[in-house]
Amino acid sequence: MAEDSKPNFSNGAGAQRLRWKYLDNILNRPGPFTDPDWEPGEAVVEGLSRAKILGAGGLGCEILKNLALSGFKDIHVIDMDTIDVSNLNRQFLFRHADVGKFKAEVAARFVEKRVKGVKITPYCGKIQDKDEDYYMQFAMIVCGLDSIEARRWINATLVGMVDENDPDSLKPLIDGGTEGFKGQARVIFPTMTSCIECQLDMHAPRAAVPLCTLATIPRQPQHCIEWAHIIAWEEERKDITLDNDDPEHITWLYQKALKRAQEFNISGVTYSMTQGVVKNIIPAIASTNAIVAASCCNEAFKIATSTNPFLGFPETDNYMMYTGDESIYTYTFQHMKKPDCPVCGNLAKNLEVDPAFTLQDFIESLAERPEAQLKKPTIRTEAKSLYYQSPPALEEQTRPNLSKKLNELVSDGEEVAISDPAFQITFKFKLLFSK
């Protein structure tokens, strides 16, 4: 990328701050709600310019624009998707000619060109492609992800990164999501406040219809479509992988569904409904995305600058729910941390072990640990099942590991998860080899 020949406005010096006249009123003046210890001025401006921030997901266009115009200078963006024509009604950095290109790439170039002095680094891929070292470089992460799975992943990753001896390892996670006229914005301080996993019950599971209704007693057009999708396709086109974006495939399902609907005198099957059911399309509009993304970026700005209190400060509100179809309603509250949260409820503890110990020795030593006497532990790492007490087949399959030495099974510093029928929670230990 060629450097612009125009003067660089990225640092906070003198006349070049003219552009940030409005922002500077806030950065340079205390308000009635700012912390008494907060010192406005140059340091705040500098901090904002230096903070590296990551944006990701379907709200990416809004997030990039908002962060760039909040004074952030070093922004990274991750998105695995390419641009589809149905994105154009809200993802405003994309044009018809961009359809098929990577979102992260097009969005980054656009905002970089529009807002001078901001550097935007795109990565076209999954958030899961990146490791802790990558996430470590950011001051905070702003996400508008559309899948619960991706949210849970980034959450668990950021919780796992927190290191007691390193303040830089605490990465605030700001998450936004929308669905039609509804949405939410929330702030998580990993390990300190309620995390995505604690809040899993806020996501309603997708309503499903019994398989037997689809197979025998369909009553609604959607039942006929689901039948075509789940049952007919497998019966008749087993060897072809269903591609939700292939119009031929959708047309096939549509015609199957229509025929079935006619058999049962059900009306209302349309191509658009077929698409909606098969792809689980969630309505999405520019205005809700604007509201939720801006709320997330407002919190990011407040966290980065301390210009006002922000959501997610421990023991205060951390969640804003938004509903816009019947007047405008927001509910802002503190979602409580769950003590038994599988992600943030019990963090990995260091455990020094002799690498020459066998797994059997190690298991016996666990039974003598003072805080939790693990008498029948089941142990695994992310990659390996070390020893399972049950079911019998797995016990048999993992039994040979008992006589292996720890250094043959795990590497120094690797995390193991240990469960035991006597305890509700699973313990996590980071095994440090004694020298």
Binding site: L211, E235, N350, R380, E382, P392, A417
Partner: protein, 182 residues
Amino acid sequence: MLKIWSMKQKQQQDESAATGPKKKKVTAAQLRVQKDLSELSLGSTMKTYFPNPDDILNFTLTIEPDEGMYKGGRFNFSFAINQNFPHDPPKVKCTQKIYHPNIDLEGNVCLNILREDWKPVLNLNAVIVGLQFLFLEPNASDPLNKEAAEDLKSNREGFKRNVRSAMGGGSVKGQSYERVLK
């Protein structure tokens, strides 16, 4: 931010993991499946098989009913659990072509807790209990295999005979089935 960090340090009671080489961590789905596996009660009629013992998210469950019409059969179900478990239910399919009103010829299983009634508080044991129940009490209303259901409804004895012959690898009404006898 610094203020938050000082709160963090006050909040901390236990010594916990120090920085070290960054390693992949056991995922939330793995943790949950590990816990669920330890709570399975398989009894004498069920067995699990893990093609790759390191991958606990994919395995096979074998059910050998010791009573009812399907006694003497050996039925295999594949379990595929994704990283979104327990938000998403496990995907369970019968890997044999069998004659059963609630299991279609593709192996789809009609069990409420695998679909519309799944809740994250349910565990894998609830699923296997449900599967076992299907062999003790095949259910003729709202079936997946309509022919089998019709037989069960209209002629229970005939249905039983069909089950025996299908389990032996014979055909029922022109449809051939896999031999599943022990």
